[in-house]
């Protein structure tokens, strides 16, 4: 396997290889209308939280739907828990919880009806365990799903993915469209699953989200995995866009010498800086001056990618 098993950040190295939860070996899936993935190889260790990061249309959902055996690869091999995704599909799905990216539910059912239906299809996590999740996400069970807001539908999707405590959680953009409070609940649930030793395969187009919960991140772009990095490595290289308004400030040129600071631009009375890696040296310097305003923005994924390229770091 190209990428091997890396230990999750901040934990002791995995001494024995417990068998990977997810393994894709040179998987290609092309669609007639374009799109898809090419020669994707990935391995996710049992117990790991793996973030799958890429812009929309990069192939994240394609990869995830291949894992679920909803679509079949043109070439290459996919296994979960060492089992073949196609041959052992039903046995695998007993151990997997899945939240689709384009979540569609049975709109005419209530959340209660849908969840009990899925409990039956799964041969039954007891309702009490589902109720715990329902309470946690504060879900209204007795309204038809079509009457729920997008955020509440997403909660129903999350509960059905989490119920029965599956060994592997496959979550396709789990927080998209959720308000920040619920996003936090989702992150907490993911972290908790990881603490219980379960594996999480999580896709996102937001770097900060993945950075918060994942141990390792795979970057996918235009159907190819271009980098797989530990989160702490990635954080070292991540780019921040900083806008500072000084009451009385230094010459912009003076800021350019601070470690990590790249471009410096004066725009009106604001100074715009691009900072790679830690913000600490900049913040220390800034503390000497009187500021009117300070804003730090994490660039979108494309900018992060560009930064990675421009920094000339060897990818993969």
């Amino acid at each position: 396997m190209v990428l091997g098993v890396t230990s999750p950040a901040g934990t002791k190295p995995l001494t024995a290889r417990p068998g990977s939860a997810v393994a894709l070996d040179r998987v290609t899936k092309q669609y007639r209308g374009g799109g898809g993935i090419e020669e994707v190889s990935l391995e996710v260790a049992a117990g790991e939280v793996f973030g799958f990061l890429g812009p929309n249309g990069a192939g994240k959902t394609t990869t995830i739907r291949l894992l679920l055996d909803l679509i079949r690869p043109d070439t290459g091999h996919i296994s979960l828990f060492g089992l073949d995704v196609r041959r052992d599909s039903v046995a695998i799905r007993r151990r997997v919880g899945y939240l689709p990216g384009d979540l569609a539910l049975y709109d005419h059912l209530t959340a209660r009806e849908l969840l009990t239906h899925f409990c039956h299809l799964r041969g039954g996590p007891p309702w009490e365990s589902v109720q715990v999740l329902v309470d946690r996400f504060d879900l209204d069970l007795d309204r038809p799903i079509r009457a729920l807001s997008k955020g509440n539908r997403q909660k129903v999707g999350l509960v059905q993915a989490l119920m029965g405590q599956p060994e592997l959680l496959i979550l396709d953009e789990p927080t998209s469209g959720l308000d920040p409070l619920v996003q936090q609940q989702v992150h907490a649930a993911i972290t908790e699953a990881a603490e219980e030793g379960r594996t999480v395969f999580l896709s996102s187009h937001v770097l900060s989200e993945v950075g918060r919960v994942a141990h390792r991140v795979g970057l996918i772009r235009q159907g190819r995995v271009i980098a797989v990095k530990r989160v702490d490595e990635l954080r070292d290289r991540s780019l921040h866009l900083v806008d500072v308004q000084f009451v009385d400030g230094p010459e912009p040129a003076a800021l350019a010498t601070i470690p990590g600071v790249g471009t410096v631009q004066q725009r009106g009375d604001a100074v715009h800086l691009e900072v790679t890696g830690s913000l600490d040296p900049l913040v220390r310097q800034l503390s000497r001056y009187r500021l009117r305003d300070l804003s730090v923005r994490e660039p979108d994924l494309e900018e992060s990618f560009l930064n990675l390229y421009e920094a000339g770091h060897a990818l993969t």
């Binding site: 899945y98 689709p100 049975y106 059912l109 009806e113 039956h120 799964r122 309204r143 059905q160």
Partner: protein
């Protein structure tokens, strides 16, 4: 929207959910078929033994009469054949089955619920088979309602028809509708497109009907009749001849082969793309 008093449905299987989704439509179709039976039976007393009707229809060309199943119009079986079983009832049942069948599998894909459904540990074959079972039984309930209404109603208006013959006609109507419903379902399972399934299902049903009815009057088409499901259902006149196992087995065979094709094609495809 909110209906707190509604008891939550306990859906144990894909079969039960498919049924649950269709329950209102099924009720509507069954009610419609009962209404058809009641209306037709209500008119029968004015027709029974009415010489003018007999003469009127006898004045029609023979080809026309055989095409529309009209013979012996004023007798009980003749009346039911012309008004209910020669076209109306099996056609309505077939429309119901095609509409539902085309949606059963393909609808899950077009509404994109296939992803959450197939995240459960159930095989694709089981999904198709359970949905097919729902279709077969749902169509039987619709056909059964018609049968029961005719059976009871015929007594009320003193329409003289044998129980076995009436049952055979209703059974054949159910079976032929099931044929077209499963064809529509299979096309949906093979393509994931509800519109295509609906269109082809309807096309097959109409073409087969034209073949079977034109064959009554066009000599060279006659030997082609057995390829039309309609021939085995109504062309062999169950109201006169009762249950005819060979013809029913042909229809049953078509259903089984179609369902197998649906299972195989659904199992091989990329879903929801």
């Amino acid at each position: 929207m909110r209906s707190p008093d509604r008891r939550p449905a306990e859906l144990h299987s894909v079969f039960e959910r498919s049924f649950h989704e269709e329950r209102r439509a099924l009720l509507g179709w069954a009610a419609g078929l009962v209404a058809l039976a009641v209306t037709m039976l209500a008119m029968y007393p004015t027709i029974r033994g009415n010489q003018q009707f007999s003469q009127l229809f006898e004045s029609y060309p023979k080809a026309f009469r055989s095409m529309f199943g009209i013979s012996d119009y004023t007798s009980g079986p003749g009346y039911l054949r012309a008004e209910v079983f020669s076209l109306t009832a099996p056609l309505l049942l077939s429309i119901f089955a095609i509409l539902w069948g085309s949606d059963l599998v393909a609808g899950e894909e077009q509404r994109m619920t296939i992803d959450v459904l197939m995240a459960n540990p159930i095989s694709r074959s089981r999904v198709v088979l359970e949905k097919c079972a729902a279709l077969v039984i749902g169509t039987a309930i619709a056909a059964g309602s018609l049968w029961l209404a005719l059976l009871v109603g015929a007594r009320a208006v003193h329409l003289d028809v044998g129980v076995a013959e009436l049952s055979a006609a209703a059974f054949a109507s159910w079976l032929v509708a099931t044929v077209f419903g499963t064809i529509a379902m299979a096309i949906g399972a093979a393509t994931g497109r509800r519109g295509v399934a609906r269109g082809i299902g309807a096309l097959v049903a109409v073409t087969a009907y034209l073949l079977s009815s034109l064959a009554e009057i066009v000599r060279w088409l006659q030997h082609l009749r057995p390829i039309s499901p309609w021939y085995h259902a109504i062309g062999v006149d169950p109201l006169a001849n009762g249950f005819q196992p060979v013809h029913l087995l042909v229809l049953g065979g078509i259903v089984i082969v179609t369902v197998l094709l649906a299972v195989v094609s659904f199992d091989r495809r990329d879903l929801g793309t």
